[in-house]
């Protein structure tokens, strides 16, 4: 019980951390420090609570009436919730420290306090989402999270593109919430209560309806293709530590929702897992292909989040399939890999967003085509950013590999199951892996290597300790999980057991260590690092004697110029051509005709085909239909409030008779 109070205090501290600053002057640095302090204190308390839950294998819960009809304030921390609480208590706190350097109150008097307030509220609401065990409470926390994220992401709402991205996000998140509203209403209809408890029996139709509603509602938040259209704009235009929290933590709330709802339902039919596998593979592949078409650093990272959510979804799909088929090892590897990837993505993606923010902070641009050669001016940032790039490509010896390795093992094991087709997911994941390498080689090169493409980076220098330390902590986390993944195993196993226990799947005492020899991964990772050091030491002498200070040989061309380098778009061109329909080509072809060619046009970034060809035409069609409701829409708020009251009374009159008080 006391553990739960610890976590609830942590939620309150996080949620209200930005409040004291609002009482202070707009230029005062104290408020921001207080907010960071509260954030750190809350996170420490929260982490202590989570550690206690995980250590004791207890499941503290609390349920009190709180005055809302049909609803109780029911919270609980089971191992699944504990798993998702870890990033909630780590990333926002680190982001808050980063914010001390990145978004100084004294430099942003106009919006600094507002950002602090909603940043804290976002973190607190996410924690509440994870522990809520009542549909109504869940929805309230969900909506606070969505709205706080909106205000935090639109901090710079004086810029039109920020407002536009904010609107798209707000619309998308509310369509999602609408589905969730329908889902919880249906849940209440099917089970007789809003409490999210196991043990209910469903008809297959009811379970299917709930699953589809959850998939759409939570899929919007997670950014699954093709529901991701809000994501790139919102991530790109938010302040970097907000992008880090949104991408590293908030997207996972969608995954958490899907996991929570499926854990409450009986043995699922096989098409649930199949749907998630297909949706995950689509998100993974298309997300990266679109990422390779972007020239804005943060958009690249945002699309790569779509990819990573896709990978996680594939893992959840495999776990569901394992439950359908009664194959515990698939569930174990699928959900274990998915959950580990949730943490891993919560380590390397915030690291990369912090890095992108640091680049923007000191060069004033996030256009890759104007950057280059920053490794010379920002060596520390370049080294840490490289760790993030290698980790996100799932390359050994860093953490991304450990989680994808578990997923691969799961896919290979499904070969022996009644549905070996699921194993082709391994091929999709392999293609995702190759695309990820291409995407992040391109990103790293265009920003940090080669020659500067413009004067933007002339005065760049490594960011201060407040910005670099949170990144270093995350990089160390990537290395630690990558080299010693077995440390995470007990937590993963607990979560998988908690998730699948209701299904009545017999686990046959199978543990992760039996199906996945993670000790070998540690050994090989350490060997890799050690051998690299040995070869480096052997070569150190010749590096010291090397002839330096000359330009690149470049096949004898004596004056290589920055404009001759490959650019972000030329590096991505051949891959975009390979997957032509996904990035909608736009003004790409340059044809030179005649002896005196006319002016040719070349457009770099490739727009998102889902947005251009599906979402925008669909919204235009809806736009044509909606004016019929103008009769009701008078633009007067009091009238809308009256509608709400009238409808509530009508609903009470019609349906209220059957509802127990």
């Amino acid at each position: 019980m006391s553990v739960l109070f610890l976590i609830l205090i942590a939620v309150t501290l996080l949620g209200l951390s930005g409040l004291p600053a609002c009482l202070l002057s707009a230029r005062s640095a104290i408020g921001q420090r207080v907010a960071t302090g509260l954030m750190l204190l809350g996170s420490l308390l929260g982490l202590t609570g989570v550690a206690a839950v995980l250590a004791r294998h207890a499941e503290p819960s609390l349920s009190v009436a709180w005055g809302l009809p049909q609803s109780r304030f029911a919270v609980a921390v089971d191992p699944i919730a504990a798993g998702f609480l870890l990033p909630v208590f780590i990333v926002p706190a680190l982001g808050s420290i980063y914010g001390l350097g990145y978004w100084k109150q004294s430099e942003h008097p106009a919006n600094g306090r507002r950002l602090g307030l909603f940043y804290g509220l976002l973190a607190g609401a996410m924690a509440l989402v994870v522990i809520a065990r009542d549909g109504m409470l869940f929805l309230i926390a969900w909506e606070v999270m969505a709205i706080a994220a909106y205000f935090a992401a639109t901090t710079e709402d004086d810029k039109p593109e920020v407002r536009r991205a904010g609107w798209i996000y707000l619309i998308a998140t509310h369509i999602g919430t609408l589905c969730l509203l329908a889902m919880f209403a249906y849940w209440r209809h099917a089970t007789g209560s809003f409490l999210l408890e196991t043990g209910h029996a469903f008809t297959s139709g009811a379970a299917g309806t709930l699953f589809v509603l959850a998939l759409i509602g939570f899929g919007f938040k997670a950014g699954l293709m093709p529901l991701h259209v809000w994501l790139p704009g919102a991530h790109a235009n938010a302040p970097s530590h907000v992008s880090a929290v949104m991408s590293g933590v908030m997207l996972k709330m969608g995954i958490y929702g899907i996991l929570r709802m499926t854990s409450l339902m009986p043995v699922p039919p096989a098409w649930w897992g199949g749907t998630l596998l297909a949706a995950g593979a689509l998100s993974g592949l298309a997300g990266l292909v679109l990422a390779i078409g972007q020239s804005d650093i943060k958009r690249v990272l945002a699309y790569s989040s779509v990819e990573n959510v896709g990978i996680i979804t594939m893992g959840v799909g495999l776990a569901l399939l394992g439950r359908s088929l009664g194959l515990w090892e698939l569930t174990l590897l699928g959900l274990g890999g998915a959950l580990l990837h949730v943490w891993n993505h919560g380590l390397f993606k915030p690291l990369l967003f912090f890095g992108a923010g640091a680049v923007m902070h000191s060069t004033g641009t996030r256009d890759m085509e104007r950057l280059g050669g920053l490794a010379k001016r920002m060596p520390a940032l370049a080294a840490i950013f490289l760790v993030g790039c290698v980790a996100i490509c799932a390359l050994p010896p860093l953490n991304g590999f450990a989680s994808e390795w578990l997923l691969y093992l799961g896919f290979f094991r499904s070969l022996g199951s009644p549905s070996p087709v699921a194993a082709t997911s391994a091929v999709a994941l392999a293609m995702i892996g190759a695309l990820a390498v291409a995407c992040f080689v391109r990103l790293y090169f265009t920003v940090f290597l080669g020659l500067p493409r413009s004067g933007a980076g002339e005065k760049a220098q490594d960011p201060g300790a407040r910005m670099i330390v949170p990144m270093a902590v995350l990089a160390l986390g990537c290395a630690a999980v990558g080299l010693f993944p077995s440390l995470a195993v007990p937590v993963l196993e607990g979560a998988v057991r908690a998730w699948a226990s209701v299904a009545g799947t017999s686990d046959a005492g199978l543990v992760l260590a039996q199906v996945a020899p993670l000790g070998w991964i540690s050994l090989m990772g350490l060997a890799l690092v050690a051998l690299c050091v040995v070869v480096y030491l052997a070569l150190r002498g010749s590096f010291r004697r090397a002839a330096k200070g000359r330009p690149t040989w470049d096949c004898g061309y004596a004056r290589p110029a920055p404009r001759m380098q490959y650019t972000a778009s030329s590096l991505g061109r051949s891959i975009a051509a390979l997957f032509a329909p996904i990035p909608a080509p736009k003004g790409q072809r340059i044809s030179v005709k005649g002896h005196f060619p006319e002016l040719a046009r070349f457009e770099g970034p490739r727009p998102d085909a889902f947005l251009e060809r599906i979402t925008l035409p669909a919204t235009t069609a809806i736009d044509r239909f909606l004016p019929r409701f103008h009769l009701l829409q008078r633009g007067q708020t009091h009238l809308y409030l009256l509608y709400v009251l009238v409808i509530t009374i009508v609903l009470l009159a019609v349906g209220g008779l059957g509802v127990p008080p």
């Binding site: 290979f412 070996p420 091929v427 190759a434 480096y536 590096f543 040989w553 470049d554 490959y566 051949s574």
Partner: protein
């Protein structure tokens, strides 16, 4: 233990000879005497002794590239059985680490190449990264098919077990997969018809274009790890198509070396009688490999 030592010895000593055999075969086809078989050893030794030039554009990433590549390829080689001798390391899921170590070497080779800021290196890297998007999934189809056939999750047993298991019913998928794997081998080791290691036109190259600005010991390491990669992929293919055993451990080692050299001759013949494909045709070839391996897998699960 002694087998592991021999494995490491063969891995370290044999690779440059394969390059020599390929060069010799090509020379004989062209009616020349050609360089001595052991010329590649001398080349690499010479490069290791020489000084190196570091462009002022480059950073430590440029130096790290060849080092990581060498270590990653050497480590990956320890998961593959050479002939009848078991692989030194074998655990469930090692084929994934195998593929991802190659991906790690690709990451660092391309990043190091791009670090020079030269357009030639850019071309090479862009091609390398693009073609991997097709060859990597094809390789996983091979692994899936082998895993399905043998029920094993480790490269060592997967390839070792196929020795006795060739029955008529498995012939069709095995032929498809082997063909696909051979194309992957040619692509990954930058051979004709995908890439031409001997061309003088930088514009048309992949691997050689990426290493244009590396010199001295770094270039030596690159050449050495490229030949090592050739040996590793050859042994992968050989355990699939020529799973013959003599029964004696020592004869098997002799047989393995002979087989790798014979495969090098085959590669040399292909390089002599074929022209390099135009760059925009290469994806077709690789998609073909993907389809071959995929069809092989489908035949096995049907």
């Amino acid at each position: 233990m002694i087998q592991t030592l021999i494995h490491i010895l063969v891995l370290l000593a044999l690779p440059p000879l394969l390059l020599g055999v390929i060069t010799k075969t090509k020379a004989l086809f062209a009616g020349r005497r050609g360089a001595p078989l052991f010329q590649s050893y001398r080349d690499i030794a010479k490069l290791l002794r020489k000084g190196l030039v570091l462009s002022e554009t480059t950073t430590w990433v440029f130096r790290a590239g060849p080092i990581v590549t060498l270590v990653a390829v050497a480590l990956a080689a320890l998961f593959v059985p050479f002939g009848s001798s078991p692989s030194p390391f074998s655990f469930a899921g090692d084929m994934i680490l195998f593929a991802y170590l190659f991906a790690l070497s690709r990451f660092f080779t391309t990043v190091a190449a791009l670090d020079t800021g030269s357009a030639f290196e850019g071309m090479g890297s862009a091609r390398e990264l693009t073609f991997a998007c097709l060859s990597e999934p094809a390789l996983f189809f091979v692994f899936l098919a082998l895993s399905r056939q043998t029920g094993s999750l480790s490269l060592g047993t997967m390839l070792g077990a196929s020795s006795g298991g060739i029955s008529a019913s498995l012939a069709a998928p095995l032929v498809l997969i082997s063909l696909g794997l051979f194309v992957i081998l040619l692509a990954e080791t930058c051979r004709i018809p995908v890439d031409d290691p001997n061309t003088h036109l930088e514009l048309t190259m992949i691997h050689e274009a990426m290493v244009l600005d590396h010199s001295g010991p770094l270039l030596g390491i690159i050449e050495y790890s490229a030949s090592m990669k050739l040996l590793v992929l050859e042994s992968l293919l050989l355990s699939l198509v020529l799973p013959f055993r003599t029964g004696s451990v020592w004869l098997d080692w002799g047989l393995f070396v002979a087989e790798t050299l014979a495969l090098a001759v085959v590669i040399g013949v292909i390089e002599s009688i074929m022209a390099r494909l135009r760059m925009r045709r290469v994806p077709y070839l690789l998609t073909g490999a993907l389809l071959l391996c995929g069809s092989g897998f489908v035949l096995l699960v049907r």
